[in-house]
């Protein structure tokens, strides 16, 4: 594990999440996120990544799910099973996977609604400039309704509204989903820049491992509700299973035609 700081900002300890009292979605996972890090949580559909994020952000209650075992510590305080607005007040802000923006509000109103949560007036006024600094596109569509934005603009607006909530820890659910690769790359780099300049921490959930590992300081791989592998990006990138199943490199060179490509050439073993 990374030993640079003494205590992690977010510490998930052996957390288990159960839906509807019967369905176990996440089984005893432990994740550490240190201050100013970008930590990537990788995995395929249904691995439990989003569940983990919803557990941290407090939305499990709405889904009729619960953290049944283990702890989530944020700056030392236990926050598992707390309601969302209290968690947002503590500085954990979620950029959700779907329904990221208010469709019937304009871009500017979307920003205002978020900014209105801030108590101090002065920082509220400055905050607009810094948003449009990073996302110049948003300034040009500020009077457009959220529902009419492009996928990239929606993602930018969603990140912007989250930034206006003064996050200490930003939870980003699938930054890349449904976006063109070039926009994903741009957003990833922008996220890293903003993180460095504004000084917060990011927990990034991604299916797009390549993009996420490009900016992450540390990564976890989830499968079937468990953490199966973790390490810094270089360690992850060099792992054979990740190359094959997440980065799609594997034995591609030797492939002659699609007919020879089997669904899985071997099972994942996750050691080494």
């Amino acid at each position: 594990m990374n030993e640079t700081n003494d205590k992690p900002l977010l510490h998930i300890e052996k957390m288990e999440v159960v839906y509807h009292n019967v369905l176990t979605a996440v089984q005893g996972i432990s994740i550490e996120v240190r201050e100013n890090q970008i930590v990537a949580l990788l995995g395929t559909n249904g691995a439990g990544k989003t569940t983990t994020l919803r557990a941290v952000s407090g939305f499990l209650g709405i889904d009729d799910a619960k953290v049944t075992e283990g702890l989530i510590r944020f700056r030392g305080d236990e926050i598992q099973n707390r309601p969302p607005h209290l968690i947002t007040q503590k500085g954990i802000v979620l950029v959700p996977e779907q329904d990221k923006v208010f469709d019937n509000l304009t871009v500017e109103e979307n920003l205002q609604v978020s900014a209105s949560v801030r108590k101090d007036r002065t920082s509220r006024e400055n905050s607009y400039d810094f948003i449009f600094n990073y996302f110049a596109v948003l300034a040009s569509v500020r009077n457009r309704l959220g529902g009419y934005l492009s996928g990239g603009e929606r993602q930018m607006l969603s990140i912007s509204t989250a930034l206006l909530c003064n996050p200490l820890l930003l939870l980003v659910d699938e930054l890349s989903l449904g976006l063109a690769p070039i926009i994903v790359e741009e957003l990833m780099n922008l996220l890293k820049t903003i993180r460095t300049e504004q000084g917060f921490t990011v927990l990034l959930v991604e299916q797009n491992a390549l993009g996420a590992l490009g900016i992450a300081d540390y990564g976890y791989v989830m499968e079937n509700g468990r953490i199966v592998f973790d390490g810094d990006p270089n360690r992850l990138r060099s792992h054979q299973d990740i190359q094959e199943f997440y980065l799609g490199q594997g034995e591609r060179e030797t492939r002659k035609s699609y007919r020879e490509v089997k669904q899985y050439r071997r099972t994942r073993r996750w050691y080494g």
Binding site: F59, I62, H85, T88, F102, E109, N110, V113, V117
Partner: protein, 304 residues
């Protein structure tokens, strides 16, 4: 015919006031509040209690403004009644609906409980004021203005239109420009995202009930001024209210305004061809037709 359309606009504007409240509540709290019609009755009767009771004991003069059928008493009673019914609506939510919501009851359970609340309000009115029709100013001569196209209209009715337009403008400005108005629109759009953004949805819900209740009270009083007061008046308004709300797309206040006017005009114009007792059936038929042809209403484009 022109006259029926004008009467339809007057009736429609009253329906619209009620439908806007219903639509707001539906958009934010997501259940069909069957007690909304009876909140209208409650508003009308609270105003009656003020006009014939409290204000006459205090000694507010009972004169009327020129050609209009009410005076200072109503001017005072109107906002007080709106405030009282707003508080009643908020209390109903605290005592009843909020408890059900926290227990995880579905929309059907909430709708049924609102049906119960509707009966309770109506019975309280029946007990206190009896089952007869009453007027704010019994025995008033109802005078008419003669407009071109053979339209006869009472000054009261013109005033009703002005008051509805004023209330609607106020609501529009509130939703567009204030912090709470934006938070309300955001919550109606997406409750979960509102929670993420740190909006205090509990306060949004209180405001929603308050505004819905106040508008219902205004609608009830205006109907009382235009026609008469009756314990069943709000209940009879329920079908036009829902028809207007659905026609204008649930949750959309501008749609509710258009829907209300449409239903009101359709109801009044139908009296030229049908017996007036079938007015309600007209609203009902329109509602069924919309549900069959365009269930999301005229402004409902999105897939949700």
């Amino acid at each position: 015919m022109a006259e029926l359309i004008v009467y339809g606009i007057v009736l429609g504007s009253i329906i619209a006031l009620g439908a806007i409240g219903l639509s707001l509540v539906y958009g934010i709290i997501r259940f069909a509040n069957f007690a909304h019609g009876d909140l209208m009755s409650a508003g009308a009767y609270v105003a009656l209690f003020m006009v014939t009771g409290v204000l006459s004991w205090i000694g507010v003069p009972d004169n009327t403004f020129g050609p209009i059928s009410f005076g200072w008493r109503m001017v005072i009673a109107f906002p007080i009644s709106m405030a009282v019914v707003a508080v009643v609506a908020i209390l109903m939510d605290r005592i009843l609906y909020q408890k059900l919501r926290t227990k995880g009851s579905g929309p059907v359970m909430l709708a049924m409980s609102s049906l119960g609340a509707a009966f309770i309000i109506r019975m309280i009115i029946l007990i206190l004021w009896g089952a007869d029709s009453v007027f704010y100013h019994p025995g008033m001569m109802r005078m008419f203005l003669h407009l071109p196209l053979g339209i006869k209209i009472r000054p009261d009715q013109i005033l009703i239109l002005i008051i509805v337009a004023l209330l609607f403008m106020l609501l529009h400005l509130f939703l567009k420009n204030t912090k709470m108005g934006k938070a309300m629109r955001a919550t109606a759009d997406n409750m979960e995202l509102a929670l993420i953004s740190g909006i205090d949805t509990g306060r949004v819900i209180i405001w929603t009930w308050g505004i819905g209740g106040a508008l219902a009270a205004a609608a009830g009083i205006l109907y009382g001024i235009d026609v008469q007061l009756h314990p069943g008046m709000g209940w009879n308004f329920l079908i036009p209210l829902f028809a207007a709300t659905i026609l204008g797309s649930i949750g959309n206040i501008y749609g509710a305004l258009i829907g209300g006017l449409t239903i009101g005009i359709a109801q009044q114009v139908s009296t030229a061809y049908l017996m007036p007792t079938y007015k309600l059936a007209v609203a009902f038929i329109i509602m069924i037709l919309i549900l069959l042809i365009r269930p999301k209403g005229i402004f409902g484009g999105s897939g949700r």
